[in-house]
């Protein structure tokens, strides 16, 4: 996994975000076993307590679960994964719309732009919502 961190947010919340994205996009498959906290911390170059905190939060949200002896796993509940996927998509749309509104485009115009974009770059675009 490729980890990237920005300076202006806590590391643990960035780990949570990236894990959510990986689970929603299927990079981490449902039911997949996660590696140990220590291994994941070393890979991300972060403090093990930070990784532990991030995983605890994902566990609280139900996206991962732990089994007492064998470690942590990605949830198998596909409805929950789908829910997460939708939430992330909504966030993307929200920030996109905000940027476009700042540029002075109305919702109507934005729809036209997207349509035009799809026609141009449709071959590699997959913008179905």
């Amino acid at each position: 996994m490729e980890w990237q961190f920005v300076d202006n947010a806590p590391i643990y919340s960035q780990i949570v975000q990236q894990m959510r994205l990986n689970i929603a996009s299927g990079v981490l498959a449902p039911g997949e076993r996660l590696r140990s906290v220590r291994d994941m911390a070393v890979e991300a170059g972060v403090n093990p307590n930070t990784m532990q905190r991030a995983l605890a939060e994902l566990e609280r949200d139900g996206l991962v679960y732990s089994q007492r002896t064998s470690g942590r796993y990605v949830t198998e509940e596909t409805s929950m994964i789908e829910e997460t996927r939708k939430t992330i998509a909504k966030d993307y749309v929200k920030s996109f719309m905000e940027s476009m509104n700042r540029l002075g485009y109305s919702s109507r115009e934005i729809a036209d732009i997207i349509e035009a974009f799809e026609k141009e770059d449709g071959a590699h675009g997959n913008l179905k919502m």
């Binding site: 961190f5 202006n8 590391i11 911390a41 070393v42 972060v46 930070t50």
Partner: protein
């Protein structure tokens, strides 16, 4: 119980006050950055913890006791300068450490040496400054200690080795042990730290968890440091 505790700790060199009534507590299982500009008192604090200096007033306790034989068993210390005998080979140094410290893990040391491409038969005298620092740090990190005091551990090594060293610190993580890293290379270490202590002119300016700094200030520890210590 706190691994390290200072109560009103003060150290004066003649009329110069290097540490001025410092009180702080470090719990087990934390990686703590001791951050401050040059001459702020970082090394003095670490030397006091090691019993290399004695307080002018106040006290410093390691596991509840004053620094002494027991604390030397407990603490693995990396000084800010070369402290290993330069006429020895790496192999001889490992034997020396094994004789001195019951918790020295020679296999761990060998593994790190080979990973960094350091020849056991080489004498310290023949090594570059960076390689000496690596050897010294490997010896210190190969002990299964309760408290690691690392004074400027990454100052003289290249960025790739820096990453390896920081990974070693995280990878050797023992939930009961704590690590104190003094440095001014904050951007390099901040992702591995739990907590930071900002120190300036012998006084503690700030103690906080790294997460809290980012959450409350919306900026990295490095950025905050530059702001607090702006020249």
């Amino acid at each position: 119980m706190a691994i390290l505790k200072c109560n009103e700790l003060t150290k004066q060199y003649g009329s110069v006050c290097a540490l001025d009534h410092i009180s702080l507590t470090i719990e087990p299982g934390r990686i703590v950055g001791l951050l401050g500009p040059n001459g702020s008192g970082k090394t003095t604090l670490i030397k006091l913890a090691n019993g290399l200096l004695t307080p002018s007033s106040g006290e410093i306790l390691i596991n509840g006791d004053k620094p002494g034989v027991e604390s030397k068993r407990f603490i693995s210390y990396l000084p800010d300068r070369t402290c290993i005998a330069t006429w020895m080979t790496v192999k001889q140094l490992m034997d020396f450490y094994m004789d001195f410290y019951g918790d020295f893990d020679v296999d761990a040391a060998r593994q790190m040496l080979s990973r960094l491409g350091i020849d056991e038969k080489q004498r310290v005298r023949q090594m570059s400054k960076g390689t000496r620092e690596k050897v010294q740090l490997i010896l210190v990190m190969s002990r299964k200690a309760g408290l690691y005091l690392l004074d400027e551990p990454i100052g003289g090594v290249d960025p790739a080795t820096r990453d390896y060293i920081l990974n070693t610190i995280i990878g050797n993580y023992n939930p009961e042990a704590s690590v104190i890293i003094s440095t001014h290379l904050i951007a390099d270490v901040e992702n591995v730290l739990d907590d930071v202590i900002f120190i300036n002119c012998g006084q503690i300016v700030l103690t906080s968890s790294v997460d809290d700094i980012r959450e409350n200030n919306g900026k990295s520890v490095d950025a905050l440091f530059r702001e607090v210590f702006k020249c």
